[in-house]
Structures are given as structure tokens and as C-alpha cells.
Symmetry: C2
Subunit: 299 residues, 2 copies
């Protein structure tokens, strides 16, 4: 089981030679992350975007652009489509978002002609290393699915489990995070949580344990679970935090990074390749870890 990014980087470096296709790569943090991945033997890269801007940023920051294939594009949407085509053609095994809106980027992945779509929902799982915790925590979906319904939450769980399994979390505990632990028909999050628990019990969601409604404190803190008299085995031991919607997911993501000092690696699953889709405000370290995680779980 991989418990932190130090271990993850070592594992990712065991399969060199794979490449990442970057859409709208003219961004310092993106290029630093890609260069870091190249130097540590984790991945090569095909950079799509404004060639002049990419070369200028590289030159200003001692990045030897000769180590990369650069495909010029002045337009962000075109840049995303071009990167997707590189993956579809087998030239790269992971796709990464640079300085382009998420919506525009995802549109390229879901483009019918290019062929990266699978029919499954594409959803993000972010792998977090948080000071004071012994293992990764997986948060999903903090970035893509606005207000998932029950069927979409099932897809989100399965995509997150795929990531967790690849990192050695064999039967991860999934906490559908709600504001309360009690089923309350007036709070849809608790209704969905109860349903997901029952679907898991009936074998309709496999490879994990899904609890009923549970609040974040009880999911991550044994003390809080004990004080509240919460009996389910997930108390304090959740591996995957399933968030009710993008608002709560995004808030958790941002508070872990900006208030708790955590570092996250985001990976989008559901297409034919893992996708690296970090926020424009994320650091180069976070982007680098995302690349490493995506590379590690790519086939």
C-alpha cells in the first residue's frame, strides 16, 4: 500500500518511457511539473500550446526545451483537441490540462471523433497527503461533476476505487460525506448515502465498503466517532470521501490545501486514459504529483 508521495514517486519511476500530452502548456507551474517528472524518470511529455510562449518560459527557467516535442497551437480549444489526438494515437498514455478552462479541456476528451470517451462518467479523484495523517485520503469529486445523482455517485465511487486499488488500497472504505450521520429524508445527501450503502450490500458497488451517511469529523477522526457514539466500522477510518456535490467537494479540496497544509494529486478517470486536471492555482508540486499518480495508474 502506497501511503505518501515519497513512496508513490519511487513506484512511478519503475515504468519509465511513457509520455504525457499537455494541453495549453504555456504555464510556468505546468512546465516545472513536467520537467520535474522528466528529470525523475517518471514521464516524457508532448507540449501543445503557443510555441513562442512555451519556449520563452522554458528559457527563462533553465528548462531545456530540446527534451520535449512541442506542437504549436495559439488556441486553447484546438490545443486540447490536439493533445487528445496524441493520446488516441498512442503517442502518450496520460493527458494533462494546462492553462485552459476545465470545460474546454473536457470537451476535447469527450469529443466523439477523437475516441477517448468510454461512455462512463469522467470524474476526478484527488489523492491527498495531509500533515498528521498516516495514509492517503482520496477525495471525490471535487472538480467536475456539479451535482451528481445516485447513478453518477456510483460511477464516482467506482472511478475513485480504481485509483485506490492501483495504489494498493484493496478494499477501501468509502464515506458518503453528509452534514449529519442520521438518515433524514429532507437532506438528499443522507438519502443518497443510505442508498449507496444498500447498493454496496447488494453487490451493485464492488471492491469497497460503502457506509451510510457520515459527517467528515466521524469519517476521519476516531475520537469524534467515539464521542458521538457512532458504531459503523468506517468511523475514523475512511479512505475515500465521496462528496455530495462540487461545492462541498471543492471546499474540502481547497481547505485541505490552503488551510491544512496538505498536498493533493488530482486524477480524472472514466476516459481511455488517466487525465491530469489540476486547478490553475495549484502549485507545481501538486501538478508534479498528479503526473506521477496518473503515470503510475496508466496501463
Amino acid at each position: 500500500m502506497i501511503k505518501n508521495f515519497e513512496q508513490l514517486l519511487k513506484e512511478a519511476a519503475k515504468s519509465p518511457g511513457k509520455k504525457i500530452a499537455v494541453a495549453a502548456a504555456a504555464d510556468l507551474d505546468v512546465l516545472l511539473a513536467v520537467e520535474n517528472a522528466r528529470k525523475q524518470g517518471i514521464a516524457g511529455a508532448i507540449l501543445v500550446g503557443s510555441e513562442a510562449e512555451i519556449k520563452k518560459i522554458a528559457a527563462d527557467n533553465n528548462i531545456d526545451i530540446g527534451n520535449y516535442e512541442v506542437i504549436h497551437s495559439d488556441d486553447n480549444a484546438e490545443s486540447a483537441l490536439t493533445a487528445a489526438k496524441q493520446v488516441a494515437a498512442g503517442n502518450a498514455s496520460v493527458m494533462m490540462k494546462g492553462l485552459v478552462d476545465t470545460y474546454v479541456f473536457l470537451k476535447a476528451i469527450l469529443d466523439k471523433d477523437i475516441g477517448l470517451r468510454t461512455g462512463k462518467l469522467t470524474t476526478q479523484t484527488t489523492v491527498f497527503e495531509i500533515p498528521g495523517r498516516d495514509e492517503f485520503i482520496f477525495v471525490t469529486d471535487p472538480a467536475i461533476t456539479t451535482a451528481p445523482d445516485l447513478a453518477q455517485k456510483k460511477d464516482i465511487i467506482e472511478n475513485a476505487c480504481f485509483v485506490a486499488h492501483k495504489l494498493g488500497y484493496k478494499n477501501p472504505m468509502v464515506a458518503p460525506v453528509c452534514a449529519v450521520e442520521k438518515f433524514n429524508p429532507k437532506m438528499q445527501a443522507t438519502v443518497d448515502a443510505q442508498e449507496l450503502h444498500e447498493m454496496n450490500e447488494r453487490g451493485e458497488i464492488k471492491g469497497c465498503y460503502v457506509s451510510g451517511p457520515v459527517s467528515l469529523d466521524v469519517a476521519v477522526s476516531k475520537e469524534a466517532a467515539s464521542h458521538k457514539g457512532y458504531k459503523d466500522k468506517i468511523g475514523g477510518s475512511a479512505n475515500i470521501l465521496l462528496m455530495d456535490d462540487i461545492e462541498s467537494g471543492n471546499v474540502l479540496y481547497k481547505s485541505i490545501v490552503y488551510l491544512a497544509g496538505g498536498v493533493g494529486a488530482g486524477v480524472v478517470m472514466g476516459a481511455k486514459c488517466p487525465i491530469v486536471l489540476t486547478s490553475r492555482a495549484d502549485s507545481d508540486v501538486s501538478k508534479f504529483y498528479s503526473i506521477a499518480t496518473a503515470m503510475l495508474i496508466s496501463e
Copy 2:
């Protein structure tokens, strides 16, 4: 301006002699918090609940119950009503929730015959001290209002501003926290945020500055705001974080406490007195700070 709980405790101790009425007080954390407040000259207390249990907990923990008025009640709902009556009668200036469900507790405050209701929405503001930050951050509403509409969000802001003003934050910056910074008609949180900004510009929400849609990273981090090219003056400087619903609010609350090592003091405004309503899983320190904050802002 009061920037942390050390300063807040000193201010709160300047007006001794006021009392807090505790509903369902037979809880160790609650009693430790109340005893702490009494010893530091911040508040006396009227304890409502199982007399035998309260006395046993006190005896087991070196709390001299002779310093308190105890009113016996075996029933949680009755206990909440009795505590509310003590405030209505002028015997206490703050009401506090002990080991009783939030719903049952609030029902007593909203009881028409007792007279604590004002017609305003009762909403929670939590005052947070977070490691690495220089000032308090106010989060609202992480505990009561399930899915506030626009009018309710206005009430929530005004209640939070009341608390912030009392702590010396004269014209607080209010960030309606969304998953994105851009107005998006498909994301109700951003629609509401834009409306609230315009209401503030038209003078319909006073005593504060309300930005448009802003994500948590941009609200609390100048670096994130800068990297995203976010121009509004609230970037990195938000005082009050207005959460879209109880799910995102509760997640932020819990992640600050359980992942970021912060300490929060919850105060509910909107009734005739400040109300202390902490989660059953909150620590005695958090409950003590809540008492001090409620006492400080009570008239």
C-alpha cells in the same frame, strides 16, 4: 479588532456576572467548558438536565456543583424548553446546547409561547482561529440552514456581520464561496453570489463588502488569487466565508478542525440572545470559546 481567542477571552472577562442557560447539561465536555468559563470570570451557569447525571459527572471531575444552579429534567425536549424560559425570564443572557439534538434544541428557541424568537432566521456563525493565519475567519452557516435561498443568505450574512462587528471587524469582506469564480447560470451558488454582490452595491446588505462568486482558495490565499488573475479586492482577504449550503459549510467546518488543526467558536444569532450550539463531537476548548464569544457579544 480581536484577532485570536487569547484576546477574546480577556475582553469577555471584562463583563462578569452574566449567566448561560445550558440545555441537557449532563455531558463532560459541556461541564468542563462551563466550569472553565466560570473560573475565568466569563460566565455563571444554570444547568438544566438530569440532576443525578450532572452531579455524578461533576463529582468525578472535581467540579464543585455548589457553584451552579441545577434544574432537573429527565427529558431533552423539556430540558431545552426550561433553559429557553430561563433566558426569556432574564435569568441568563446566553443559551447553550448540551447533549441534545440540534432540531430539538432549536424547536425550544423558536417556541412561540416562550418568546425568544424574533422572526429573523436563526443562523450559525463559527469564529475560527487557524494555525498560520493572523486573524479570525468567520464561517457561516455550517450547522443550521440546510439549503438557504437568496433571502436566507442575506439573513445569514447579516447575522455573521453582527458577530464580526462585535469583534471589531468594522466593514468585513464577505466571500460567497463557490466552486468557481465565474458566474455560471448552471451553478446556483454563483448566481446567488452575483445577486448578493449586487444587493450589497445597492445598499440592501449593509455594514460589509460582498464580492461576487469566489472559490475558497482565492478567498483565503493572495497567491492563489494572483495566480488565477483574480482582480476583486477580496482576493486573499475574506473575513466572512458564506457557504452555499449545509453540506459545504459543514465540510469546511470539520476540515478546519480535524485536518487543519483550527479551533472554532460557534454562535447562533437571530433569536433574542446569542446561542451556543456546538457539535457533540466538539472539544471542551471549542465549547468554552463558544461560551466566551457568545457572552462577549450578548447585550
